[in-house]
């Protein structure tokens, strides 16, 4: 029983990771991927979706609808620095 729950939770986690990977791929490629690439993703999503229980599928759908901006501070309070080729040193520091 316990291992079954763990396996299903892994499917949910992997589904979320795969969804982020797909979103990132789309954004990096200007918003559109070829049908072939989308089909590969579909084939990777399906077994994960069907490995979940109905409750997990419902939770995932609710999570998908509720996703919003990530919280962040108004400023990072850092500024950039000059770095010379073939030398070291960080490209930014605290402002």
């Amino acid at each position: 029983m316990g291992s079954e729950v763990t396996a299903m939770s892994k499917a949910t986690e992997r589904y979320r990771h795969l969804l982020f990977e797909l979103e990132l791929e789309r954004l990096v490629h200007g918003g559109v991927l070829s049908q072939e690439v989308e089909l590969v993703y579909t084939e990777r999503f399906e077994p994960l979706w069907f490995a979940m229980s109905a409750d997990e599928q419902s939770e995932l759908e609710a999570w998908f609808k509720s996703r919003r901006a990530v919280a962040a501070k108004s400023e990072l309070h850092e500024q950039d620095c000059t770095v010379v080729l073939n030398s070291g040193g960080p490209p930014r520091k605290a402002a």
């Binding site: 979320r16 901006a69 962040a72 073939n86």
Partner: protein, 137 residues
């Protein structure tokens, strides 16, 4: 390798853009989390290439993506680690920091950019990828 993509804005004329920096750590190889001197930036490595759209110094940093990885690691492995890292963090506030695969990642952005954080992640990621591929490390 230490790869940084950071969006900056000029305090004088308001120009906004992403600069990227690639540092090499020749001969340094590891599995799992980077060694402490690299992870802690005590050893930043040697700057081997950069893409500058708003010349430093003194610009305000609005967002950044930091990647520490072995020089020879294939981009496909870096991407896989990044997806794992970012997907696992996406419900926590910025800044994000963590290890996935053989890489250490850091990611943060100011509130105005975080409203569309995935687009900003993609912008930073694309610049980091462009610099890495153009360098031939």
């Amino acid at each position: 390798m230490f790869l940084v993509a950071q969006r900056v804005v000029s305090p004088t004329d308001g120009r906004d853009g992403i600069n990227a920096f690639l540092y090499a750590h020749p001969g340094r190889v590891w599995k799992g989390a980077p060694p402490p001197d690299i992870a802690n930036r005590q050893e930043s490595g040697r700057l081997v290439n950069q893409l500058i759209s708003v010349p430093p110094p003194g610009n305000r940093v609005r967002s950044f993506l930091d990647i520490a990885a072995p020089d020879e690691l294939a981009w496909s492995s870096i991407q896989a680690g990044f997806v794992t890292f970012a997907a696992s963090q996406q419900e926590t506030p910025f800044p994000w920091a963590g290890t996935a695969g053989d890489c250490l990642f850091g990611l943060s952005m100011e509130e105005a950019l975080a409203k569309a954080w995935k687009e900003e992640v993609a912008n930073l990621y694309r610049m980091a990828l462009t610099l890495r591929l153009s360098t031939g490390l």
